[in-house]
Symmetry: C2
Subunit: 466 residues, 2 copies
Amino acid sequence: MLKATFKSAVLCIAALSVFTAQAQYLNETEQQQINALEQTALNSTLAYQIEESLTTEVGARMIGTEGDKRAIAWAVEKMNALGFDKVWTEEVGHYQWIRGDVEAKVLVPFAHDIKAIALGESVGTGDKGIQAEVVHFNTMADLEAAKPGSLTGKIAFVSYRMQRFKTGKGYGKAVGARVNGASVAAEKGAVGFIMRSVGTDNNRLGHTGVLRYKEQVKRIPAVALSNPDADLMVNIFKRNKPVEFFLKVTALRNEIVATKGANVIGEITGSELPEQIVALGAHLDSWDVGTGAIDDGLGVSMVMAATAHIAKLAERPKRTIRVILFAGEEVGLLGAEQYIIDHKDNLKNHVIGVEWDFGLGKIYSMQSGVGEKALPAVAELATYLESLGVAYNKGNKARGQSDMGAVTDKGVPAMNFSPDGTTYFDIHHTENDTLDKVNAKDLQQNTAVYTVFAYFAAQAGVDFRK
Amino acid sequence: MLKATFKSAVLCIAALSVFTAQAQYLNETEQQQINALEQTALNSTLAYQIEESLTTEVGARMIGTEGDKRAIAWAVEKMNALGFDKVWTEEVGHYQWIRGDVEAKVLVPFAHDIKAIALGESVGTGDKGIQAEVVHFNTMADLEAAKPGSLTGKIAFVSYRMQRFKTGKGYGKAVGARVNGASVAAEKGAVGFIMRSVGTDNNRLGHTGVLRYKEQVKRIPAVALSNPDADLMVNIFKRNKPVEFFLKVTALRNEIVATKGANVIGEITGSELPEQIVALGAHLDSWDVGTGAIDDGLGVSMVMAATAHIAKLAERPKRTIRVILFAGEEVGLLGAEQYIIDHKDNLKNHVIGVEWDFGLGKIYSMQSGVGEKALPAVAELATYLESLGVAYNKGNKARGQSDMGAVTDKGVPAMNFSPDGTTYFDIHHTENDTLDKVNAKDLQQNTAVYTVFAYFAAQAGVDFRK
C-alpha cells in the first residue's frame, strides 16, 4: 500500500511538472477543449459511419472508373453534410487500364489451377495466352543476376516471401519485385512474369499493386500468385522437373484513352489565420478489388471525422483545417503530383501535413518532421496524446505518408502517426479489403489522435518550419 | 514442496491402479509396442509427407474429374509404396457436374461486384444470366415462412451467419439453407437462390458444398456469397431500397453423362484373424476448389500413415487393418453407399470403424459407439491415449463420421475422435483448403491417436459389438 501510494505521488508530481513545464502552446480553456475533443472522438461512431457509408454506397473506386466518379460525388456530399465550410474538386488525369481476368495453370508436371491477379497496369497476354516453361528465382536479386538471354521465351517466377512486422517494414524488401520484376525479366528475354504476392496472409487471393515498365523494354504481362499458390509452385519445383505454365491475362492498358479523377478538398476555415493550412490527407481512390475499406477508407473516414468533430465546436480554430482526399494514389501519387502543381504558390501556407495510408490497428507512436524550434510544441502535443497510448518518438525525421510524403518533400512540415501494421499486409490490395476488417474501437482511437493533432496544429499557432 | 510431493505420490498410485485394474486387453509386450508406436507417430513426418504429396502432385479431386483419376492412381501407388499387403479399387459411379463460373453483381441501389461460388451440383442460369429483385431473409425459417408465390420472379437471399464452436456444431444450424434453400425458394416462385456462405471466416471466398433439389420442384441456380459480400448485402438492405441483382452461373449439371470414381482400399493383413477388419476411413475426393488439404487430405494422410507405422512392426497385428479411401463423399457419400452394397455380406466382419473428416486441430476427446461389454476395453484404450491429451467421453453414442457413419449405421461398431474444429469452417469447401493450413505438429498428434487406436483394435481381439 505504502509503495503504491508513493508511486502515485511520484507520478502525480511528474504529471504536474510536465503540465507546468511544457503547457505553453495551449491555454487552459484550449486544453479543456482538446481533452473534450479527445473524449468526443473516442466515444463517437462517426468515423465508422463514414467508413460504412463509403464501402456500402460506393465500394471499389480505382481512378477513372464509375466507382471513382461515385466516390468523388460521395465525398463532396459527405463533407458538406458534415458541416465543412468549403468543399471543391480539382481534376486529376490518367489513362485507361482495365484489369480483366487471369487464367493461370500449372500444366506439367502436375496440373493445377493457380489463383493470381494482374499487377496494376500490366499489359495482357492476348487471347491465346502464353504457354512456357517457368524459371524459378528465390529473390529479385537472383532474377537480376540471371544472364542476359537466359529467360528467352520463358516465364520468370520470383517466390520471395514478405516478412511480417508491426511497422510493415517487410513491404520495402518485397515490393521491388512487383514494381520492377516484369521489366527486369523482360530484359533477359522473359515473356511473362509471375511472383509471390507482396502480402503476409495465406489466402487464395493475389495482391495487386502497381508495376512500372522501364522505357525501351518490352512490356510483358505480370501477375501476383496467391501465397498458397506460390507455396505450391515452390513445392513443385522441389521435384526438380521442368514446370510448364499457362498464363492468360485479359488486362488492357490503353494509354491513349484519357480518364479523369479528382482530388476532393474540404475545409473548415480558420477564425484568425484562415490562410494558414493544416493539411489532413488520405487517398480517395482504391484498387478495383475489395471495397477499399482499409486502403484507404480508414484514412478517409478518420480525417473527415476528425475535422467534423472540430467543426462542431462553438468557434473555428485559428487556422484552416483542410482535408485533402487525393486521387489516383494507387497508380502513382497522381493526385499528390497534381496538388503540388495546382497549389505550388501556396505550399508555403501549408503549416503541417499528415496522412493515414497504412495500418489498421491502434496508433502507438508519433514522430514529427519539423524545424528544431518547433520541437517543444511537438513535445506538448505528445502530452495530449499520452492518454491515447501514443508514445513520442523524438527522431524528428518524419515525412508524410504516401501523398503527403510528396507534399512534405516540397518543404511542408510533417507529422507521422504509426499504427500497428501487423496484419495490414494480409489484406493490402486484395479482394479482402472490406468493412469487416475494420476494428471500430481502433478506429475511434485513431480518429481521436487525428482530432487532437488537428486541433493542436490549428489552434496553437506554432510555426513548424522553424 | 511437501504438497507437490504428496500430489505426485497420489497421481502415481492412481496411475498404478488404472494399470492394474484395467490393463487386461493388451499384455506387457503389446503395451510396450503401443507406447512405442505412439512415439513413432509423434516423431514421424510421414503423415505430413503424404499430405504434401497428395496436395502437390494431385490437388483438387472432385469425383469424375481428371484430378480424381490422378488421386486414385496416387493412392494405389502410395499404399503399395508404404508396404500395404493388398491394395485395390472398387468403382463408384456418378454423373457429370461442371462448376463453371459465377458472375454476381448488385446493380441497384449501389453497384458492386459480388464474390460467390456455385453450390455443388447447382444448375446454371443460361448465358444471359438472371436480373431480378432480391428478397432478404435472415434465416432459413423465415424463407420457409414466406407465402406461396411471394417470390415469383425474384432472387431469395438468406443471410444467416454460421456460429463458431470448437465442436463445429454451428454447421448443423447453417447447412440446411445450403442443402434445401434453392428448392424452398423455388417452391415460392424464386428464379435464383443466394446465401451467406456456411463458414466462419471473413474472406472473399464463397463456401461451396452440395445442394439437393426436391423432386417435382423447378431447379434454380444457387450460389453462396463470400461472407464479406453477404455483410455488404445486409448493409445495403438496411437502406430500405429495392435491391436489383444480376446473377450468371455457368455450371452444368449433366445427369445423363456418367462419370466414374473409385473407393481405394488397402490392407495390412491380420496375422491371426485376417478376416476380421478394423476399418480406418477417410474420403479421397475433395471439392474442385483448393487442394483438399484439410477436407480430407488430413484424413487420408492420417489413416495411411497410421497403418504404415503399424506395417513396420516385426509382426502384423492379429486382425486386418483396412484403410478405405471413399469416393464421392462430397456429393453425397457415394463411395460409402457403394461400399455397403459391395461388402454387405462382410460388414459383420468389420469389427469397428473410424473416420477423420472434420477439424484440423489436436484431438481432445474420444467416444465409442460399441456394445456394453466392450466398454472396459474402450476404457483401457483410453488409458493409452491419455498421454496424447485425449479425454475419454463415456457417452458411448458415437457413430462414425461421414462415410463411416453410413457404414456404422449398418451395425458396425464405431469410434469417434473429436479434434479442435474451431477454425475448420474458415476453410471448409473453399479455395483456401490448401497445405499451408496444415499444422504439422497437430497432424503428428492426430496420427499418433489413430495409430494407437488401430493397433489396439487390431491386436486386443475385443468384440466391440457385444
